[in-house]
Subunit: 389 residues, 2 copies
């Protein structure tokens, strides 16, 4: 176990109708805020009305900025920053999924600096403060509702960059599982896969003596495997949604990598795929992970065996541990298929003619490696993409 510092101050307000408590939460920070959201779904569903009623009741005024798209854009962040500065807004309230929350976090950092917030994402500036951010989560997936991360895309050059800081932990996040009832099945499957990926990126580590967090990660993976089929079968299953939503938060709130070093190569590879082809992040991860696992299996076969036995209930075979490990990977592929996702690039209609290009971009023309469990150069990434094709 490695030394670590851990703090997660986000207040979670969890339950049916919890969004009606948003006014009271917000008012503790500011009476003049930016209300940030995506498309029109929150208006169509009535969520917007409930949120603004609660704000009004608490005496909170708001300026609206909708229109956040998946892979949130820097240009909209700039608009939000301008609004916050001009109108002296004191909090950014994100109502939506990971993209809306990531965009809100970027605005919160940009609102208190002189220069361009993009400088922070490319390492040319370091934030020393940020406006408080609050969230009402509508999609269990990205875990941004209790994380230090924000990922933003600059349309000039379509550069997608992430930044981590404790300054942008949301001050509060409101989790009402009912808000997930209306999600399309494909989006649910992608969300589940994103959560699984957050757990697996953390699970595959070379740090030893991490049996406690291993077990917590396994527990969370098993929860997902049990509950995803339930919410896909019955989208109104509050009980299953509630556990799934909470698991999605815990999967990415930094608790489960205390003392560990995660891998994150699969996320990097997926970003290159979705950078070229317009696919959902979760759908891309369901393709990359099995291929990555097959490629890195022998880095620590025992770790894969433990994962297969404990998470996927593969029977131990001490005489053939590799078969046990591969059976776990096969069960994971079966799981992805069962929730409606493909596990090969071809399933997504992606040809294999730009694999070299993706491998090249992913490693900066082979000038850097990705991943920590195994450090992967251009050729290794290319091999993984070939296994995924």
């Amino acid at each position: 176990m490695k030394d670590f510092e851990f703090q997660n101050p986000t207040r979670i307000v969890f339950g049916r109708g919890a969004e009606e408590k948003v006014g009271a939460q917000v008012a503790g920070y500011s009476k003049n805020i930016l209300l940030h959201f995506g498309g029109g779904s929150i208006k169509a569903s009535g969520l917007y009305d409930r949120v603004t009623a609660s704000l009004r009741k608490a005496g909170v005024k708001w300026v609206e900025l909708g229109g956040v798209k998946p892979n949130p854009r820097l240009s909209l962040v700039h608009e939000g920053v301008k609004l916050c500065k001009e109108q002296k807004l004191g909090l950014v309230l994100a109502v939506g999924g990971g993209s809306v929350i990531d965009s809100a976090k970027a605005i919160a950092m940009g609102a208190v600096i002189e220069g361009d917030v993009w400088d922070i994402f490319v390492g040319k500036n370091q934030p020393v403060s940020a406006l408080p951010v609050g969230t009402i989560l509508t999609i269990p997936a990205a875990g941004s509702e209790a994380s230090t991360a924000s990922v933003v895309t600059n349309e000039e050059g379509w550069l997608k960059r992430g930044f981590n800081s404790e300054l942008i932990y949301p001050r509060f996040s409101i989790l009402n599982p009912e808000l997930a009832f209306s999600l399309p099945q494909f989006q649910v499957a992608c969300g589940v896969t994103d959560i699984m990926a957050h757990l697996m990126e953390r699970y595959f580590t070379n740090v030893t003596h991490v049996s406690f967090t291993d077990r917590l990660l396994e527990a969370t993976m098993k929860t997902l495997i049990d509950l995803a089929p339930k919410v896909l079968k019955n989208s109104q299953d509050y009980d299953a949604w509630s556990e799934l939503m909470w698991a999605g938060t815990i999967a990415h709130n930094n608790l489960l990598d205390t003392g560990r070093v995660g891998d994150w190569a699969s996320h990097d590879i997926e970003h290159e795929i979705s950078g070229i082809y317009d696919i959902a992040h979760g759908a891309g991860l369901a393709v990359v992970f099995p291929a990555w696992m097959k490629y890195v299996l022998h880095q620590d076969l025992n770790r894969f065996v433990q994962w297969s036995v404990r998470v996927w209930n593969v029977e131990m075979d001490v005489f053939d541990p590799e078969a046990v490990a591969r059976a776990g990977i096969a069960k994971m592929e079966d799981f992805f298929h069962s929730i409606g996702l493909g596990t090969h690039l071809s399933d997504l209609g992606i040809p294999s003619d730009r694999i070299d290009e993706m491998a090249d971009k992913c490693t900066g023309g082979n000038t850097r490696t990705i991943g920590n469990f195994v450090k992967l150069g251009r050729d290794a990434v290319r091999e993984i993409l070939l296994l995924a094709k």
Copy 2:
């Protein structure tokens, strides 16, 4: 799963030599603090010197108040409050185990009110603020280093009362597993049992659809069962201690009862035993829990079966679930024996002649019940104590 609010803002600073970072942590809050500790062990071990060197380096001045005893006393809390008020101290730094931390939390509340802090413990006053508390943990057991709880004993009438408030979450807690190397084996065993008890009190609930937190609780119990024998075999086993220490914090930082209702009858019964007989809290819990379990088994046999199979690796027997449940309890008793604890009152040298008295006190003369999984009146507590004798 029940609705909940959860927030735990305690910053954990974890690792070898972490106490040397205390000055920097403290200085963020105050340069003039109360340094609170127990007996002389922190001076004998050199910990005191390292802590004060770090404080000095950060320009922090301190006033000392040592002498905290197990079951921390109100009279010493009063002394601490007086020092904080007179010398305008801005933070209480607890260096020790649960008793020192609980005492520090009480001082932190008392330092900012006009009247007696005891009024808070007996429900006659509600705190609206508290001085910040920081901790350097020396004994993994009570979980007070990241909890909302403080338990204090008033020598007038020997009343032991607890109070919970988010105001007394420590702002930071420094966890260096090396500090546990010098603990006597009996104290280690009692600490492990206290942690197990915190998990079991939360595990046995009537709330349904809590499979996620069930699994997290099981994961933490399994970690304890694996690692306790290691630190008892080799007190210098940093790797085992590090996981055990972190598990002890997670077991009681309010995360693992999100959406659940814990039981806590066993804690209440144990308090009556240790109120009369001078026994360690953990040693008492090892006696009460098996008896409590045997008494409440049929409240939810399935829950006991799940616990036996998952935590204690009892083989499932669908034709005789009660035998499976009882085998789990037997394995828990074996575990307590293996770490050097008894599981009967007689093992602690406690006679059975005051069982009626304890059952009576525990339930306020049968005017109230204890526990949530099963609500226990006087007769039920008496039965449990008879099973424990």
